[in-house]
């Protein structure tokens, strides 16, 4: 009974890994077709993403916001809701945390940073919780409403940043006034990685614990699997919908706060850079497991980080990394259909043979 290596347990590992390999082969074919050397390209991607401490730093900085925006889709997905509003929560979270920072110029750093983070979390959380509430109270499709809310959030941000909140000194790139320099996230040690990465990983771990090791998480899984069973068990379905949406939105809002407090130092229109949409796919790659989101985000952050090196050493356009990401996303999403199709993962159940 206590085989450590039960092959059916390996199914969730082997299928995505095989799919990843297949995606890389497809990408290699693409690279060959356009006349470049696939092995050289792979080597450069590896070097640019994970080959040195310098490239690891780049990769991790890019991965941090993706972890949090992925949570915005992953948590509601455990309730059976497909929320794609991470971009809006990210943008508004960043904006409100910058405004909070502006009001707190001169106050102690620990206080200002916590308040900014709180502001980002509450804004993002309420934004996505609104989509959850519309779904629960009125049956409004949460996917579409959260998509529409992205546009509303971006328009509100542009309206405020280009209008009343604009720092007149920022001509080319409209921005708010800068927050206090002392309230910015500093880099860890002498690396170029800011503390936002630590915050992101800690939030992933906390939400993993919440969804896999607590009564709350158990209730969410039941309600996500079968709403009728959840009602019969008297689970507070409405509360669970709001809570998962709030936590997801709060994560994306904190991502926006980190972008402001670690990168720009102010809210500006480049907050709307597509982290929200990439996060949706990372949530699906990780099958909505907050723990697996960490490596999935690092993988995708790495591919983006390598695009500069691809340009320099192979003369490939920077869209190469976009193509690679697209192929990986599509193949792994398609591999969802393979679960349960292979006999090899099933026979072990009945016969309990040791696996060589």
């Amino acid at each position: 009974m206590n085989n450590v290596l039960r092959i059916d347990r390996l199914e969730p590992l082997i299928i995505p890994m095989t799919a990843l390999l297949f995606a890389l082969i497809l990408f290699a074919i693409f690279i060959t077709l356009v006349g470049a050397d696939p092995f050289g390209v792979f080597h450069s991607i590896y070097r640019g993403a994970f080959g040195s401490w310098f490239s690891w730093q780049n990769t991790l900085v890019r991965a941090a916001p993706l972890m949090l925006t992925a949570l915005c889709t992953a948590l509601p997905a455990r309730m059976g809701l497909i929320v794609i509003g991470g971009e809006g929560a990210f943008v508004l979270g960043g904006l409100c945390s910058a405004l909070t920072g502006l009001m707190l110029v001169g106050s102690p750093a620990w206080f200002a940073i916590s308040m900014m983070m709180l502001a980002g979390a509450i804004t993002g959380g309420l934004w996505i919780a609104a989509a959850g509430a519309l779904k629960y109270r009125r049956g409004v499709n949460e996917t579409i409403s959260s998509l529409l809310m992205n546009y509303i959030a971006i328009a509100v941000m542009n309206f405020l940043i280009i209008g009343v909140l604009r720092d007149p000194a920022t001509l080319n790139k409209p921005s708010t006034y800068p927050i206090d320099e002392a309230h910015m996230f500093v880099d860890i040690g002498n690396s170029s990685i800011h503390w936002g990465l630590v915050v992101s990983i800690v939030i992933c771990l906390l939400l993993w614990f919440l969804s896999r090791r607590t009564v709350f998480g158990y209730a969410v899984d039941i309600a996500g699997g079968n709403e009728r069973a959840a009602r019969i068990a008297r689970l507070p379905v409405g509360f669970l919908v709001l809570a998962t949406c709030f936590l997801g939105g709060a994560s994306a809002g904190i991502a926006g706060m980190i972008e402001v407090a670690a990168i720009h130092g102010r809210a500006n229109t480049s907050l709307n850079a597509g982290y929200g949409y990439e996060g949706i796919l990372i949530a699906f790659l990780a099958r909505h497991n907050p723990l697996l989101i960490i490596p999935a985000a690092i993988l995708m952050g790495g591919i983006r980080a390598a695009s500069g090196l691809l340009q320099r050493s192979h003369d490939l356009p920077d869209a190469t990394s976009l193509v690679m990401q697209g192929i990986i996303f599509i193949v792994i999403l398609g591999s969802e259909s393979l679960y349960g199709r292979f006999k090899i993962f099933r026979q072990q159940h009945s016969s309990e043979r040791a696996v060589a």
């Binding site: 009125r138 579409i144 796919l281």
Partner: protein
Amino acid sequence: MNGDDFSLLSVIIAVLGGAIRVGTPFIFVSLGECLTEKSGRINLGLEGNLVMGAMAGYAISYLSGSPWLGVLVAGLSGAALGLLHAYLCQQPRVNDIAVGIALMILGTGLAFYMGKSFIQPQAPRLGSFSLGSWSDIPALRAALEINVLFIVGIILTPAMAWFFKYSRWGLIVRTVGESTDAALASGFNINAVRMLSTMAGGFLAGVGGSFLSLYYPGSWNEGLSSGQGLMAVALVIFARWNPVNCFYASLLFGGAAALGPALQSVGVTSGYYLFNAAPYVLTLAIMVSTSSNNRVLTGIPGDLVNPGR
């Protein structure tokens, strides 16, 4: 004529011109999305088709010298992406929303990659009719430069409405979208119908993209699309899955998009960004006011509400 009247008039003319010029790609993507959704599936990836179509259309027009061949190839590239979407989504447990976003990334990635060398050269553009020659206001003349694709859109709209309402194929598409049980009972091949609908929808979105690169703004670059493909989903809801409404809604969205720059040109420099949100606020308001827990959106294909029912 005093200054205020003049600026009001110029804003109105700009919005009219924008409704036609900016609205044309909306007409194609929204009709495409409408067709796909009528068959019971959402394609969120039309943004990828649009950008791909813009690149393919421009590249082929440049290489062959024929913009119309470009439009055709743009449509075919969109149909190919639609085929991929349909194939993936008919596999069990594959989520159509996620596949749509992934195809958006792949489509734009491929278009940027292959389009790199076409950013500089000037390709032959699509022609247009001047319907404004009776007027002596230059701005109005410019606004009434009507592109052929806009006229194609005018013809396509009632054609699609007729197709859904009266043709046998249209009935099949609606049945598949309304209830898979009914479709199975009638012996229709659900996957085939959805695949063809998604491919045809993708074709239209690709054609819409070619309008961007071959007519307005009229050249290929990576910032060409401002998310018209993603907006198609909102537009179709706004239009209540009705092709004729899709047409009007496209003009409305196009006009709304032109309002900002028009106001800016007459001196209103801030504040109009909030107008950009208006179509979405309106769409959301319609969704909220017309759905409830017992009653779903009127006009929505049944299988989009309860998939696999």
